[in-house]
């Protein structure tokens, strides 16, 4: 199989030069059911590639093609600027009712497609597909608003990679003014990861409101996820609850990169790592231990996923936790959002244009002085 970029270039010319032959080549790709198809479909969403999108729209031979390609066509339909392609997509989607308004429609659509594909997945054990949808699922899982907590300045962001990874973070508004903070990374990529992430989020949100101790809570989440997911899938998870009055942070670290706490004193800047907990979620039935850390005014807490600490530059060097901590040390006294921007910018500057191959997720908390 030729490299994806070369295939794309070849087809871009062929579709003008010899449309029939281009169709034949694309149908071959469609029937190959390999990752090259996903790469190609993900590559052709910019305006000048209208001819290639039309090629896809013209390629629906049966119901199976339709299920396979409709998610892309639905996504393109909204942004299509080419007249011919627009017509071809509309006609291809024909019966499918996609023209309802607003956010709910999008959510419904994502849900509908996710279940359809999930079913197919269960039957065929296929992975790494429907990345577009996986991304939408992922985006819907991120917190839409931040509960306000007295004395705490915080924020979180996930920058998804081209192939959706399984990063996840969440903030929970808990009784008695407590704030739940979660960050995790599901193994693998694509729709499977997105589904497990959804299950993790749902389990955690459901159990957190019940109010057990944290170790018990994570144990329950673990067994719920364990039952719901396939054997080789797991997730790392760091979950903490912050008590604003006592400024205490209780946490369980289930196999996640230990978050760091930076405490600046007159002499130096001390670094603490939050490591207490247990192994990853979803792999074994398992018990966990709860850790506790008394925060002080001015402390900066940085939670991250390995997409940040392991971001690579073009020479395949890792950015590394040490560099992350060095940058974080310069962020004392600045707002959490600013600290986050600085860290992401530093990681990006280090990567210097190398492709991002994993999601990068960062949560920053600052105890206000």
């Amino acid at each position: 199989m030729e490299p994806p970029e070369i295939f794309y270039e070849r087809l871009r010319h062929l579709v003008v030069e010899d449309p029939r032959d281009a169709r034949r080549v694309f149908l071959q790709l469609l029937d190959s059911r390999g990752p090259a198809l996903d790469h190609f479909l993900g590559r052709i969403s910019s305006p000048p590639d209208g001819r290639l999108r039309q090629l896809v729209a013209n390629a629906l031979r049966n119901q199976r093609d339709r299920e396979r390609l409709a998610p892309h066509l639905i996504a393109w339909q909204e942004i299509e600027t080419d007249e011919f392609t627009h017509r071809a997509i509309q006609s291809a989607l024909g019966g499918l009712d996609t023209r309802s308004a607003g956010q709910t429609a999008l959510a419904l659509e994502v849900a509908r497609l996710t279940t359809a594909i999930g079913r197919e997945m269960a039957q065929r054990e296929r992975l790494n597909r429907e990345l577009e949808i996986a991304r939408e699922v992922q985006e819907h899982l991120f917190p839409q608003r931040l509960p306000s907590v007295p004395g705490l300045d915080y924020c979180g962001r996930c920058r998804p990679a081209r192939e959706v990874g399984g990063d996840y973070y969440d903030f929970l508004d808990l009784p008695k003014g407590r704030l739940g903070i979660a960050i995790g990374d599901v193994s693998g990529k694509g729709i499977g990861a997105a589904l497990m992430m959804a299950s993790l989020e749902a389990s955690l949100r459901a159990q957190a409101s019940v109010g057990h101790g944290l170790a018990e809570l994570i144990k329950r989440v673990n067994s719920l996820v364990y039952e719901a997911s396939s054997a080789n899938r797991y997730a790392t998870l760091f979950y903490a609850e912050y008590y604003p009055r006592s400024r205490r942070l209780c946490y369980v670290n289930a196999g996640h990169n230990p978050p760091v706490i930076l405490r600046k004193s007159a002499a130096a800047c001390r670094v603490y790592r939050l490591e207490t907990g247990g192994p990853v979620i979803g792999l074994l039935r398992q018990c966990y231990q709860q850790g506790s850390f008394p925060l002080k005014r001015g402390d900066l807490i940085v939670l991250f996923t390995d997409g940040i600490s392991e971001s690579m530059n073009t020479r395949n060097e890792e950015w590394g936790e040490d560099r992350l901590i060095e940058v974080a040390k310069t962020c004392h006294g600045v707002p959490a959002s600013e600290a986050m921007t600085r860290i992401l910018a530093a990681a990006e500057a280090f990567a210097a244009g190398a492709p991002q191959h994993d999601d990068m997720t960062l949560v920053v908390l600052r105890v206000l002085a």
Binding site: V16, E17, P19, R20, G50, R51, T81, R87
Partner: protein, 623 residues
């Protein structure tokens, strides 16, 4: 960026007018017939002349600046270069530097030296109304004029190549058709020859050999003709190349008036010196081409003699043949026909090979051509998103690729008309999902299966339609038929909540102007002259889309507005208000000054004047 510093008019309807124009925003107001439009057009006339300007504007200038009235504009260009332009109707403009020297090397009317954007109200409406067509595209294309020109030139060149290729394909197809007919006419002469009893005479063999030679002789002549023609084309190309080289190497770097003239003269000389060498080489090649033509002529001479000998032998042989028996004569004629058939078949084979090569060559020509057209759309998308950023949320500008396709639609309708099928509208909807190059390929290959698969018309209807297309539509013209982008310029007419964007063509006169203004304002940095339509502008839109943009962008470019809406001068803080009036015979500037100085006139002359001032004082908290 450049500025108009001053305008003076020496006669016509505005005699003795002389106004200093500030940076920022100038608003011209006044009653109907006071010379506002004349003044606006005088700016454009002086800077751009009359070519490419709409007729009604030229008429206005010719009527109101007749009798040798001279328009003088002082311009401050990049840095601190000052120029003066003087122009009168039907006369060449004069461009002067600040120390009074004339500049002859600049053609002002091309609009590249001092570019000016001027829009009369009918022009604005015309852009708004023309959903399909070039006007809206020009609005974008002008902003990338250099790149566009480069692409247009390459496109024109590839269009010529495509045309030439199509001509040769058609000629080859015609000749093949012709040959096939001749071959069919001859019928199955080989079988008839075989059916004859074997011959016993020698002369028939000779006769056949000579007849066959006759065919070959003809083809030799054709080949000599072709060689001769091709060499002459090369000779002409060389002559052209020599002329081009003379132009290219001609000394022209020196600007005679410039202080650097001596510095550049040296380089001019060196360039000129190179020309000698180039010419030497070229004439050497020309000499060789002439030599080649000579050789061809010699070959022709030699072959003509040989042919003459063959011809006389054939004549002899024919005479002999005449005398021979009936059966021998029949055999001889048949053998002659077989020889002819063979010749025709060989010729057809060669032509088929040539046709195949031509079609193959066309593929890449066509691909380059079409992908180049796509580049234009991509450039337009870039411009549109730049303009969109400046124009704000109320107005939406977007490129609908390939949505200006009337010619294609017409061609499809013509094709359908011959097909004797019903419900054309429905069929058209489906056919318009096929790109021209796609359909052209199906027609050319007579590919019924693909056609049916792509259209789902069913086999009988597909057959009828494809046959009719094959009859009526020329696939070579179809695959590169002109298809253009459509530019959507839309205004959100919903005051709040769900946006409701409507195309500019579908708006009231005032709204049309409102939709276009943010785009016209944002385009570039040269001075902008707008003659707003006298129509009820919706104050809500004016405020939201225009006032803010004017206020923001007037720092970047000079603006001169003829306006009927008080919000523009008052709320966008005009730097100068010019109040025009007329005594019925001539127009004049009645008053000029700041907004506050012209407050009375603004309230009297413009709609919503008082309210605008009230709003302004609320804004600034002053009384």
């Amino acid at each position: 960026m450049w500025l108009v510093e001053k305008i003076e008019i020496s006669g016509g309807f505005l005699p003795g007018l002389s106004v200093d124009i500030p940076r920022g925003l100038t608003c011209i107001i006044g009653p109907r017939g006071s010379g506002k439009s004349t003044l606006a057009e005088a700016f454009r006339f002086a800077v751009c002349g009359t070519s490419g300007v709409p007729k009604h504007c030229v008429d206005l200038i010719q009527a109101n600046l007749a009798g040798g009235a001279l328009v003088t504009i002082t311009a401050l260009a990049e840095g601190s270069n000052r120029y003066t332009i003087k122009r009168a109707v039907k006369q060449q403009p004069v461009l002067l530097t600040s120390d009074g020297r004339t500049i002859n090397t600049v053609d002002l009317d091309r609009g590249t030296f001092l570019p000016l954007d001027a829009y009369s109200s009918p022009e604005i409406e015309a852009i708004a109304d023309e959903v399909l067509g070039q006007r809206r595209r020009n609005l974008l294309d002008e902003l990338r004029s250099d790149q566009m020109r480069t692409i247009e030139l390459s496109l024109a060149e590839s269009a010529r190549a495509l045309d030439a290729n199509a001509d040769r394909i058609r000629a080859a197809q015609r000749t093949i058709q012709n040959l096939t007919e001749q071959i069919e006419e001859l019928g199955d002469v080989r079988a008839r020859l075989n059916a004859l009893a074997p011959s016993d005479r020698e002369t028939a063999g000779d006769f056949v050999r000579l007849s066959r030679q006759q065919q070959l002789n003809q083809r030799e002549i054709t080949k000599l003709d072709a060689a001769d023609r091709d060499l002459r084309t090369v000779g002409q190309t060389l002559d052209q190349l020599r002329k081009d080289a003379q132009l290219a190497f001609k000394s022209r770097l020196v600007e005679e008036q410039s202080a650097n003239a001596d510095l550049l003269r040296r380089f001019d000389d060196r360039l000129a010196a190179l020309l000698g060498t180039v010419e030497e080489h070229l004439s050497a090649i020309s000499g060789q081409v002439r030599q080649a033509l000579d050789i061809v002529a010699q070959a022709r001479q030699g072959i003509t003699q040989a042919h003459a000998i063959h011809a006389s032998e054939l004549a002899k042989s024919t005479a002999l043949n005449q005398a021979a028996s009936e059966q021998a004569r029949v055999r001889a004629t048949l053998e002659q026909q077989v020889a002819r058939l063979q010749g025709l078949e060989e010729q057809r084979m060669e032509l088929n090979a040539e046709l195949k090569a031509l079609l193959e060559g066309r593929k890449s020509l066509k691909t380059t051509h079409i992908l180049m057209r796509d580049q234009i759309s991509t450039l337009r998308e870039e411009v549109a998103s730049e303009l969109q950023r400046e124009a704000g949320q109320r107005v939406r500008i977007r490129i609908m690729r390939n949505a200006d396709h009337l010619a294609y639609q017409q061609m499809l309708m013509d094709g359908l008309r011959g097909a004797r099928v019903r419900s054309h509208d429905e069929l058209m909807t489906t056919l318009m999902q096929l790109r021209p190059e796609q359909l052209a390929q199906l027609i050319q290959a007579n590919d019924l299966d693909s056609f049916e698969e792509l259209t789902a018309f069913g086999s009988e209807r597909s057959r009828k339609i494809l046959d009719s297309f094959r009859e009526i539509v020329d696939p070579l013209a179809l695959e590169v038929i002109a298809i253009e982008d459509r530019i959507g310029i839309e205004l959100n007419v919903s005051p709040a909540g769900q946006p409701n964007f409507r195309d500019a063509s579908d708006l009231s006169r005032g709204q049309k102007c409102t939709a276009l203004l943010p785009i016209l304002l944002a385009r570039r940095d040269s001075p902008l002259i707008i003659d707003q339509p006298e129509d009820n502008l919706d104050n809500h839109f004016i405020f939201e889309t225009v006032v803010n943009a004017v206020q923001r962008l007037k720092r970047r470019r000079q603006m001169i507005f003829i306006t009927h809406n008080a919000n523009i001068p008052v709320l966008a803080e005009a730097d100068l208000v010019l109040v025009m009036n007329s005594d019925g015979r001539v127009g004049f500037v009645e008053k000029l000054g700041t907004i506050d100085e012209c407050r009375e006139q603004i309230i009297d002359l413009l709609e919503g004047g008082r309210e605008a001032f009230e709003l302004r004082s609320k804004r600034y908290g002053t009384a």
